[in-house]
């Protein structure tokens, strides 16, 4: 594959936000702002158990979106096994704590490490040669389906279709809706801080370099393959941690908790809303999506169709993310062209 083709390869995400704030106060400022707004949500919906459940799930998805964004937005690896990696965390935590008897916190950490290991391994396999981006998509999709088959098939351990109750965490603050919400919010902020610090570090510089021009990055001495695997490791750890924490809060896990159609499609839509490669975009996207999903609940199965349409539309026309584009439109004078970046491709 020619250098031009490889360089162009990342242009889908290269149109995304590249300016990265160097100042720590600004970084923590934006994360704190997100935290403050989301912290107020229980005051608003706190008396509805159902709505709190939806809000907690929304936060779990925000974590998924941050992890996916770290992998896809930073290094262009399309990980189509977000749900499965979260499931490794969820089922791992539940089984380690309930069946093996590992203390809850240790079970959670071990399960998250397990997810990191699986994600890192998939990435390592995929980045072997120049076809990394393609193989990442293929092999993660294969893994996603394998995981679903495994969960459904090994029903003596996983409960099959109906899933299993998670007794670990019951009777603790994790099962109190409000405290559980703040635990999940804390996890969102933790993921944001980790991603934010990563972006500011040498690793972040390498991510941007290889995203903008892989060949140039390679020439500048960035070990492209290694940084892709790093991103997959860290992002997958976030997915596993969020999946595990959600299992402890929800008190039950089933194949649909972490299903491909239930998680991956949603996370991709969230990212398309919030903006690929941005720091807080995934959280904004998750918020917008959670509200939208509640409004569309009447549609039932047709929601999947609607999200499919959204993925096509958003990735075709508004590749920087809906929210950043709208923000830019508001900021710009009316009449100027919208913020869809040109392809940078001849013909």
């Amino acid at each position: 594959m020619s250098g031009r083709a490889v360089a162009a390869g990342t242009s889908l995400v290269a149109g995304a936000e590249t300016r990265v704030s160097r100042s720590l106060p600004r970084l923590f400022g934006s994360i704190a702002a997100v935290g403050a707004v989301l912290a107020a949500v229980p005051l608003w919906v706190g008396d509805s158990r159902v709505r709190m459940g939806v809000a907690i799930l929304g936060l779990a998805f925000a974590c998924y979106a941050i992890g996916f964004n770290l992998i896809f937005g930073s290094t262009g690896q399309l990980f189509l096994c977000v749900g499965a990696l979260a499931g490794v965390g969820g089922y791992g935590t539940a089984l380690l704590a309930d069946r093996v008897g590992v203390p809850v916190v240790a079970a959670l950490v071990l399960a998250a490490l397990g997810a990191a290991l699986v994600g890192g391994l998939l990435s390592w396999v995929a980045v072997r040669r120049s076809l990394g981006v393609i193989f990442a998509g293929i092999i993660t999709l294969i893994f996603a389906l394998s995981f679903e088959n495994l969960v459904l098939g090994a029903s003596t351990i996983t409960g099959g279709d109906s899933g299993i109750q998670v007794s670990a965490g019951s009777g603790t603050f994790l099962r109190e809706r409000t405290t559980a919400y703040y635990v999940m919010l804390g996890l969102v902020l933790l993921c944001l801080v980790v991603h934010g610090l990563l972006r500011r570090s040498r690793v972040g510089w390498a991510f941007r370099a290889l995203r903008d021009d892989e060949v140039a990055a390679e020439l500048a001495g960035v070990d492209v393959a290694r940084y892709r695997v790093y991103a997959a490791l860290v992002g997958s750890a976030m997915l596993g941690l969020a999946g595990g924490t959600y299992a402890l809060i929800a008190g039950r896990v089933s194949p649909t908790t972490y299903g491909f159609a239930q998680v991956d499609v949603v996370v991709i839509v969230m990212l398309a809303f919030g903006g690929i490669g941005t720091l807080v975009g995934p959280v904004l996207g998750a918020t917008v999506f959670t509200i939208l999903d509640e409004l569309l609940i009447e549609l039932g199965q047709l929601r999947l169709l609607a999200y499919g349409v959204l993925i096509i539309v958003l990735f075709l026309w508004i590749r920087r993310g809906l929210i950043p584009t709208l923000a830019e439109l508001v900021r710009r004078k009316p009449g100027s062209p919208p913020g869809t970046a040109p392809d940078g491709e001849p013909g």
């Binding site: 594959m1 020619s2 031009r4 083709a5 490889v6 162009a8 390869g9 990342t10 242009s11 889908l12 262009g76 399309l78 189509l80 396999v125 995929a126 072997r128 040669r129 120049s130 076809l131 981006v133 393609i134 193989f135 998509g137 293929i138 092999i139 999709l141 294969i142 893994f143 389906l145 394998s146 088959n149 495994l150 459904l152 098939g153 090994a154 491909f260 159609a261 499609v265 991709i268 039932g300 199965q301 047709l302 929601r303 999947l304 169709l305 609607a306 999200y307 499919g308 349409v309 959204l310 993925i311 096509i312 990735f315 075709l316 392809d343 491709e345 013909g347």
Partner: protein, 285 residues
């Protein structure tokens, strides 16, 4: 053991046809179609609905094939147009995202309109004894059709001007333009062919086991595994890998457990990528 190997060959032939449709589209246009399995499912459903309308099975199946080809053509004319305007990895990435979106659109519609439906073409007849193993008539007919399809594909690509033209685009797109071949037109034809192949897989599979409306992603993923192992863009590779993986799958299913068979195939694909990234017979890097 003979029985599971024979089953594996039956399955492997279908794997090969399944992967051929994916690998041709990738080899020709650098496009990966993640809605491929959904095309198969829609074709199967069209066959089912046509049969329910009172049409006999054979013409209904032919209508299913037409539906598969038409769906391939629709993909080419709609969501793949913006994909063609990109090059290299950006093209693959956009094709992955857009066809994934299309797959969800189809899955969402089918799950809403036709939940729990599935095509099941029962072929009646006494079992046939092959190598001392009793084979169900459905398996025999399905394999017969699949072998004919493979033969037709071989003839098409080996001996016809059109087949040669398609191979030339895979080997050197610019070279093919210089001898007067329109790569866009070839791509369109290949998407139609790939849709027909998906339909053939759905119909022949339904002679062995029901193909329900939720099978889309499983079919895509099986096709992807075979494609990766056989080498992206290689048709002979697709058939070789199909046979190998079909036998592995069948033997693993009967000796270890069905739910683990996909994991075993995943491991096979991962090992192939690590050891030989171009696949068994792949030429492209």
């Amino acid at each position: 053991m003979t029985a599971s190997i024979l089953d594996g060959i039956v399955l492997g032939l279908q794997f090969g046809v399944l992967a051929a449709g994916l690998t041709l589209v990738y080899g020709l246009g650098g496009v990966l179609n993640l809605a491929y399995g959904q095309i198969a499912v829609v074709s199967g459903l069209v066959t089912l609905l046509t049969m329910e309308a009172g049409v006999p099975a054979v013409p209904a199946a032919l209508i299913g094939l037409v539906a598969g080809g038409a769906l391939g053509l629709i993909f080419d004319l709609t969501i793949l147009q913006p994909v063609y305007r990109r090059h290299g990895e950006a093209r693959v990435l956009l094709s992955l995202l857009l066809t994934l979106g299309a797959a969800f659109v189809i899955d969402g519609y089918l799950n809403w309109r036709y939940p729990l439906r599935g095509l099941n073409l029962r072929i009646t007849g006494d079992p046939l004894v092959v190598f001392g193993v009793r084979m169900r008539m459905g398996s025999v007919v399905a394999s017969g059709i699949t072998i004919v399809v493979i033969g037709v594909l071989y003839w098409l690509f080996r001996y016809t001007r059109l087949g040669r033209a398609i191979r030339s685009v895979i080997q050197d797109e610019e070279g093919s333009r210089l001898v007067g071949i329109d790569p866009q037109l070839m791509m369109r034809l290949i998407l139609v062919l790939s849709g027909v192949l998906a339909a053939i897989v759905a119909i022949t599979r339904s002679m062995v086991a029901p193909v329900n409306v939720r099978a889309g992603f499983s079919l895509t993923v099986l096709g992807l595994i075979v494609t990766v192992v056989g080498g992206l863009g290689s048709i002979p590779g697709a058939f070789l890998a199909g046979l190998v993986l079909g036998i592995i799958n069948s033997v693993a299913s009967s000796y270890i457990g069905t739910f683990l068979s996909l994991i075993i195939l995943l491991v096979a694909a991962a090992i192939t990528i690590v050891i030989r990234p171009t696949g068994l017979l792949g030429v492209r890097e």
